[in-house]
Amino acid sequence: MTELADEKTTDQRQDSIADDPMQVVQVGLDDGYAYTKVALPDGRLVSVPSRARMGAAGVTWIRDVEQRIFEYETAGTVYSVGAVDGEPTQFDEYPGSALNRVIVQHALQEAGLSGRSLHMVTGLPVAAFYRGDGQQRRQAIQAKRDGLKLTVEPVVAKKSSTRQALKASIAFHEVIPEALAAWYDFVIVTLDDGVTLDADRLNAPIAIVDIGGRTTDYVVVQDQGVVHGSSGSLNRGMLDVKLRVANLIQERFDLHELGEQIISRAVDTNRLRLHGKDHDVSDMVMNAKRELVERLYAETRRKLGLGVELDRILFVGGGSAALSSDIADWFPNQTIADHAAFANARGMLKYLQFVCDDASKER
């Protein structure tokens, strides 16, 4: 998808970190429906598509470096992750599912965290984290917390493989609302010689609009509290563009089925290759994006009005980068975050490093 258009997605597995394997590593991990993003204390940002399916890959890789599909086992079931036609992630139980678990483990492996013990903060969409009255959905939060702590073992296909594939273990896991993570990223500023709170940003009324894969989250923070009346989630995101383009392609070319990876490529490149011939599908992609933008615009106006009382409206999430030209003029006081796709993951890491208490309790 174009969701990460402004980011470099790591294609190659990172070397394992050569240091004390007993040392705990802090990780901010935004396990989105389209991409899973990892932020590490050394400044690295890693992203992998949230793409996996049940079952073994059925591929023997002659050279380790060429390997593009990786297998993981959890609760007695093997999953293939990587360059596969992924199962849909757009279902409510995804955050606590085995599918999510293997994708997260794969992202951690890609980040070079094989064999490491981790303290981690992840997120839930705002509407999955809070009830309408602002109370936390404790059961859903606990389910997510526990879900990612279940064991996922990398499956080493070849005995002769030179790659070490040890699972990354999660010793501490906290869950926070996704768009609010971007607020922490916004107000906590790391410098070369320390970290500081930006007091202007801290006290100003700010709205975060997080355009993701499946959902678009809204969070308004004022006087260091969430304004629940203006916060929530809309079940629309960049994956809707992909679904719409898939339908349009099936209609135009009279196809019954088309692989998920081919559709993703068509959305990214505006070209579809069928029977060895390229077809221009830019009009379909444009129409699908326009439909999404119109829906998002209406919801944004409904949630935030004209934004007159807000100091700033901060757009984050991969969708904000992919749709930057379409959303550029919604508010005069708006900003698109730097590396917008990673704003939540960065905020989760900062929350772990400077806000939450993980030293006394490993939960």
Partner: protein, 127 residues
């Protein structure tokens, strides 16, 4: 009712002044039905920022202009970055040209086990 609450103002922009020309250019790019909204927000936001400046001038009369312009810092914490780590970072960047490509740090992911400086921000999430 609308005629009494809605007041129309007229502003002339000079295309010879670059910033004003940019405002006009931006306005013309917008769909007609959103132009009025956009202009109204522009005026209100500009006024808000003017209010902020006035407020901060009242709060900090002794500060110099340059101080006023800079973002306020309420808390500074440097515990997470030890002198050793800083030294290691410097070595990693400024090593001799013939040094190994990858500088091995003792731990690239130091975990801060000291007191977390912004624990009070936990309450933003609520109960």
């Amino acid at each position: 009712m609308a005629s009494t609450t809605l007041q129309q103002i007229s502003v002339s922009l000079d295309t010879r002044i670059p910033l004003e020309a940019m405002v006009l250019q931006r306005l013309r790019r917008l769909p007609k039905d959103r132009q009025n909204d956009w202009l109204r927000q522009l005026v209100v936001t500009a006024f808000q920022s003017e209010c902020h400046v006035i407020k901060s001038e009242q709060r900090q009369p002794a500060f110099s202009n340059s101080m006023r312009k800079s973002s306020t810092t309420s808390y500074m914490y440097s515990g997470h970055c030890s002198p050793v780590a800083k030294q290691q970072r410097t070595e990693a960047v400024a090593g001799p040209p013939n040094c190994p490509k990858r500088t091995e740090l003792s731990n690239p992911f130091p975990v801060n086990k000291a007191h977390k400086p912004f624990t009070h921000l936990r309450r933003v999430i609520g109960e």
